[in-house]
């Protein structure tokens, strides 16, 4: 992006892509934030607004795709420029998914809001969402500053998110066993937690793409271990935490 091309319109096009990605990122961050807020505060109206916002994100992704294809066809980018263009396509796809996950959380607002749930159920979700949003924000900040040497934090935090998710999973299972009436809301919250955890994964994907754009190399392949909720079982006699 720092390089200057003879055709200034080419530079403009690359900058346009970067700006569009940033705008998409901002929109996605906002959607997730508002979706979780709507869920915690039991605010279905805010949820509806989040659902409506998703269309903008879809449009933005399509626009980035079109623009990227045009750049490839017209300018035949090389090396870093090519990585920049391909990276934009990949990042926009990830961000679009983040938006979808946000929308999915928003859709569950009314189902969960029907019976008021205890506060403690949401506190964990809020903490998880905060972690995922911090992850997303820092990754997008790195996209702006291109300082990939600091990108190691992404994996640490991804591990934290997974651990938190596993813990929430266990907690929700316990609530369901306590009282069958909890099963409906807790199942929704389980999906919400999963969605938030997925958002963290997409942020990690974006970080890997940024690393590739800037260095031309793939990030060393030490993916953190998966979440361990697939191993979590709560036996019948388990005492509630």
């Amino acid at each position: 992006m720092q390089s200057v091309h003879i055709v200034s319109a080419y530079d403009e096009e690359l900058k346009f892509l970067a700006r569009k990605i940033a705008a998409m990122g901002g929109q996605a961050e906002r959607m997730v934030d508002q979706a979780v807020a709507a869920l915690v505060n039991g605010d279905p109206e805010l949820g509806q607004r989040v659902i409506a916002d998703d269309a903008q994100l879809d449009d933005a992704e399509r626009e980035i795709d079109d623009k990227a294809i045009l750049i490839i066809a017209r300018r035949q980018p090389m090396a870093k420029d090519l990585r920049e263009v391909i990276g934009a396509i990949r990042i926009s796809a990830d961000l679009e998914r983040v938006g979808d996950l946000g929308k999915n959380i928003a859709k569950r607002v009314s189902a969960v809001a029907e019976g008021r749930q205890p506060n403690s159920l949401f506190r964990g979700l809020q903490a998880l969402a905060e972690l995922a949003l911090t992850q997303l924000k820092e990754v997008l900040d790195v996209y702006a500053s291109r300082s990939v040497e600091k990108i190691g934090f992404v994996r640490d935090r991804d591990e934290q998110i997974d651990a938190m998710y596993t813990s929430l999973f266990r907690e929700l299972l316990t609530y369901m066993m306590e009282d069958p009436r909890n099963i409906t809301p807790c199942t929704h919250l389980l999906f919400v937690a999963k969605n938030i955890e997925r958002i963290g994964d997409h942020a990690t994907n974006i970080a890997e793409t940024i690393y590739y754009i800037v260095t031309g190399e793939q990030m060393p392949p030490e993916r953190p271990k998966e979440d361990e909720s697939h191993r979590v079982t709560v036996s019948g006699g388990a005492n509630p935490a």
Partner: protein
């Protein structure tokens, strides 16, 4: 440097004397004419001399007026120009306490003042502003300012993570045709935070306070009814009631200190804390608790000073809460090791203060959650040790204000280690 200054000084003196000569050129000319006239008409008639004198007086009358007016005008121009002209935008921005970002017409950052850097993280020059501030309303504000419309346009900007902040942002062009624009942020978090605190307090505290209150009410009822004449039961019930009121008092203390922390999320710059002295003070102040629980506190400090940027009372509380927990919940291990060393974590030098106990340890699924408010690994144990469920939440809050973090390692049956990481600057 000295050479250039003497050079400029000489230049200025020459300019000044030339200016003075120019100012008095009329007086000079008048003198010369007078001398010439006396010389030529030395022997002429009296009226002629009188005429010359009259002419001189006229000159004297007229001449001083012009230079005086000009001098005044010059002076006015000089005062108008010099102090402001020499003022650099950077220094002006540094003197402003609110975050301020100057950017050019390509949307690239030209300069971000200290307040902006500490509020939003590093903002190097040439960073595209639209990539840094991605919230939709910021995007439209910046675009409006760059497009030349919306001068003095304002919007609200909310930054959620790592802690919530609300800003009123105003964007405007700097002067006319400079090609520079400025974003000024005004922090409005406080009002928002008070609102939020009230909601939080009602949600959390009411629930936590209701339990001891219900138990006190129950015992009062029993004391007035069935147990009225039973001294043994009365004593026992009064003891329980005393414990419950104590718990409520502690809970309120903790809630208040958490609220105080949330009210002022920024640290005063410049304050430095000697961690070694702080940790020693904590160990000394908790000696009674350690003795009571039968725990031996061991020190393992590296050599040299441990100075960090921060607030002493707050860091004291961090170490105090950790050591208190270690003594209470790691009681069965019989000892606690407090260690302090310098490391390089995440590329930056930092100080690690670690409190390790040899108690039962924390099950892995609880570790990520223990810093949440009112989260307890085991409600019974926590109650027995007079815990409020807020200690680690306070620790986490203080550390995030210090750009630090807390890491927790624990193995069942082996004990746990809580480590505070603080940047060394």
């Amino acid at each position: 440097m000295a050479e250039t200054s003497t050079h400029t000084r000489a230049k200025r003196t020459a300019k000044l004397s030339a200016g003075r000569l120019y100012q008095n050129r009329w007086m000079l000319a008048a003198g010369v004419i007078a001398v010439l006239a006396m010389h030529v008409a030395g022997y002429r008639s009296v009226p002629f001399t009188a005429m010359v004198i009259g002419a001189l007086a006229l000159f004297a009358l007229v001449a001083p007026r012009t230079p005086a007016a000009r001098r005044l005008a010059d002076e006015a121009a000089r005062t108008e120009r010099s102090p402001l002209d020499r003022l650099s935008g950077e220094k002006l921005a540094a003197a402003v306490a609110d975050p301020l970002i100057i950017f050019d017409r390509d949307g690239m950052v030209v300069h971000a003042n200290e307040a902006a850097q500490s509020a939003f993280g590093a903002i190097p020059p040439d960073l595209p502003l639209l990539l840094k501030f991605r919230a939709p309303e910021m995007q439209s504000l910046i675009e409006a300012v760059l497009g030349g419309e919306g001068n003095g346009h304002a919007t609200d900007y909310v930054e959620r993570v790592p802690f919530e902040r609300v800003y009123r942002v105003t964007g405007s062009a700097v002067g006319r045709g400079t090609g520079l624009f400025v974003l000024a942020f005004r922090d409005q978090s406080e009002a928002r935070r008070i609102d939020r605190m009230r909601a939080d307090f009602i949600a959390n505290a009411s629930h936590e306070l209701r339990t001891p209150l219900a138990s006190i009410a129950g015992f009062v009822e029993t004391l007035r009814g069935p147990a009225r004449n039973d001294p043994n039961a009365r004593d026992q019930f009064l003891q329980i009631m005393q414990n419950q009121t104590g718990r409520m008092a502690r809970l309120i203390d903790d809630l208040l200190s958490l609220s105080r922390l949330e009210m002022k999320p920024y640290l005063k710059p410049g304050a430095r804390v000697d961690l070694r002295q702080t940790v020693e003070a904590v160990i000394a102040s908790l000696a009674p608790l350690a003795a009571e629980t039968g725990v031996v506190v061991e020190r393992d400090f590296a050599e040299g000073p441990f100075e960090v940027h921060g607030d002493r009372d707050e860091l004291f509380q961090v170490v105090q809460n950790l050591l208190e927990n270690a003594c209470k919940y790691g009681q069965s291990g019989g000892r606690v090791i407090v260690s302090m060393r310098r490391t390089v974590g995440e590329g930056e030098p930092e100080v690690e203060v670690s409190v390790r106990d040899f108690g039962p340890g924390i099950p892995a699924e609880h570790i990520p959650r223990v810093t949440e408010r009112f989260y307890r690994v085991d409600v019974e144990t926590s109650r027995a040790h007079k815990g409020t469920g807020l200690g680690l939440s306070i620790v986490k809050h203080i550390l995030s204000r210090h750009n630090g973090r807390l890491s927790i390692k624990s193995e069942l049956g082996q004990g746990s280690a809580f480590t505070v990481h603080l940047p060394l600057r």
